[in-house]
Symmetry: C2
Subunit: 495 residues, 2 copies
Amino acid sequence: MSAFEKLIKHSKKVSNFSHLASICGWDQASMMPAGGAEARSEAMAELSVHIHGLQTQPQLAEWFNDAENEALNTEQQATLREMKRSWQQANVLPEELVEAQSLAGSKCEHAWRSQRKENDWVGFEKNWAEVVKLSQEEAKIRSEATNLSPYDAMLEIYEPGTSSASLDIVFDDVKRWLPEMIDQAIEKQASESLITPSGRYPTAQQKALGLEVMQLLQFDFNHGRLDESVHPFCGGVPSDVRLTTRYNDSEFVQSLMGIVHETGHARYEQGLPKHLAATAAGEARSMGIHESQSLFFEMQLGRSAAFIERLASLCTQHFTNQDAAVFANDNLQKIYTRVQKDFIRVDADELTYPAHVILRYEIERDLINGVISYNDVPELWDTKMQHYLGLSTAGNYRDGCMQDIHWTDGAFGYFPSYTLGAMYAAQFMASMEQSVDVQGVIRSGDLTPIFDWLQQNIWSKGSLLTTDELVKQATGDVLNAKHFKAHLQQRYLNK
Amino acid sequence: MSAFEKLIKHSKKVSNFSHLASICGWDQASMMPAGGAEARSEAMAELSVHIHGLQTQPQLAEWFNDAENEALNTEQQATLREMKRSWQQANVLPEELVEAQSLAGSKCEHAWRSQRKENDWVGFEKNWAEVVKLSQEEAKIRSEATNLSPYDAMLEIYEPGTSSASLDIVFDDVKRWLPEMIDQAIEKQASESLITPSGRYPTAQQKALGLEVMQLLQFDFNHGRLDESVHPFCGGVPSDVRLTTRYNDSEFVQSLMGIVHETGHARYEQGLPKHLAATAAGEARSMGIHESQSLFFEMQLGRSAAFIERLASLCTQHFTNQDAAVFANDNLQKIYTRVQKDFIRVDADELTYPAHVILRYEIERDLINGVISYNDVPELWDTKMQHYLGLSTAGNYRDGCMQDIHWTDGAFGYFPSYTLGAMYAAQFMASMEQSVDVQGVIRSGDLTPIFDWLQQNIWSKGSLLTTDELVKQATGDVLNAKHFKAHLQQRYLNK
């Protein structure tokens, strides 16, 4: 057996255990009763330790060395590159640091759940200082191993090949036009009237509607299912994708578009190359590309005129005894494109969302690079919020720098993926529209040409290409914020 | 760390992986879409290999040796005894035999699924000969390791401490009175009229009823849940018990009593000693004792007059727009105690069921002990069916010796557990009734005293006692078929 074959075999073993972790993780979030939590945590921790043990087996170093001297075709070379990347990431940190981070992160996150409600920055800061310190250590080690800046080395975990230099370029571009565009959109919408849902939308009806929308989006129910969880997500494995949503009986807007969003993630997973299943090259390219698929579904398809027409008609069929004026085409479009300056990222609309992300990016970049200190964050947050969205968070930590879970356990480098995803999605749509009549296809009810394009250009590529190669092959260009700008202008300012 | 402590730590590790296997197994049967099967099988097989690897780690032998010389209290001694038993069982068979059995069993079982439908004994026999041969080899090895007869060594897997000599005594007792009692019951019921369900019983209504019955039976929903699967079972882990049932819209009888049955299994699991969780002494005592709890719920409680009264009343509440005569107290009692001689074990009633089991026991005992050959089975089956139930299966393999899945993959020694369970259940009830007014308690709607008795005498004991000790401490006697006989006489002949 060649070294490459040994690596593939090993990779499949790791993948088998990860499969169990995914399914049990989904179960934990969507099925498990509260009393099962303790034993489950122990079992999952045992599994994590085992997987980490497999990923750090000493003989792997030799296999990687040997495999690099073996005759491999292009696909095998890409597979080797991705396996090695994931092996390096699993091996770069000393065990003691990983354990210290796990402890500090759990402690900080757990306390944050009540501290946030109580707006208790002083309490939070005590735990968070340790989390930041350990993340800086992590970044330093990753930096030495990769010859990247500390923050770029963290970014590499989520967005391989993306540097803060390139982020600065696209985000600076966005910063130049976004605040003004937000003001213009709000001004334009100020005179519009809009009817918000006020009736009861039973869960069973919302679910039936959601399933029909998933069918329209050609979700493969032979390889996945829809359930409920407090925090919606897309989990499971490519051959069995587990999607969740959350229903609120007093409105349908969130769960409906939430399902469209998660179906985008799901179809990416379902469309990954089957012949590379269970190897690193068969996995999704990056967090940003994953988000580009969910946002392609939610923003590019889901909020487009033709799709809203379909949703309006489906709502009328599924929600009986409701005020039909809510689902009227025009009204639904207004609901789903309403712009509002607000404090909270997770509730933000398409247009203001990038401001929330860029703010976080700039702060975490400087924090991890050691340019600022953890206790500078509240003031910086306030300044930037005022600058980008005209809102002050002075003294309001709860709705300011304490609002997100990410930083509480050290997930620095993750935030940019959201807006990268939105920008990639716009660029993919611009490119797709050159060969596909997207709105016409949606109106026909058979969206196959849209999914064929995504399958061919994105899903089937797995991680065979780098992100830049992927985007360039699909669109003829590397990431360019102009597509995102044009999309937002067209949608929010009719330009 | 003492050797005993090392063993406990190791046992918890194995238990953590078994936890994942249980949850993913439940998922496979109740949640997973068909397209997920292939990848799941691979992941589950990988996990099995890993668990087997842990159970056969070479250092365990030394730890067991050392632990036996350590100062242990009574509970620790019992824990050590049970850990050692399960270790010996995992280590006694050579890998090649286990693999050969797995292959032959899968092949035979897979082919059986169509061969049974086609009544194809000749085709089946070809695969089955190999399964029997390998099981005989297994029994021989187990026999040498335990100084038991080959069949008793197989029985030991499911019913530790139970010998065929003791089974012969109780089963011979049953055989003396059962055939006549069946005839008398059928004669008695011949003149009774009975209304069978004929309407539609929507799944949602059946489920709501089932959940209410589980509440009456004090199932702990903080540590478990109810779902659906083709073959109902009770899975999961003690802190999170996963129960399933199967709904048929055209009748409610099966799913309702099926839920009562599985709830018996579930409460046993939920009631196991928590301080011994994840060690062998904290597990259920045996298959027979497990079945005694499900049959205590289904037969002793579930079909008793007071419980049927409750069910009748609950059915009337849950099934609206149905013919209420079906749920009338008397009629429901008749439905649930109808006796009928038939070919199929899984459809058999309480009274004829032991005949099906004793027939299988006698055949598998002689087969594994080498007294008969695999191709003697059809004729023996026919003879015994005629003898016990007056039915001939000559030429009818499908409804005869090819009806069960157990033997197709070599699970010899399992069948006696069903009737042992029924007998233990009757004996537990006889004993409980000396201190608890069972029917009065059921009529009060608060069944706590019943469950307190079971918790104290059965559930909390885990595997700390041997089966004989457990039964003797709970009832003052080892297993005695007279309680079962008295119960059946009273229920079916009003004696």
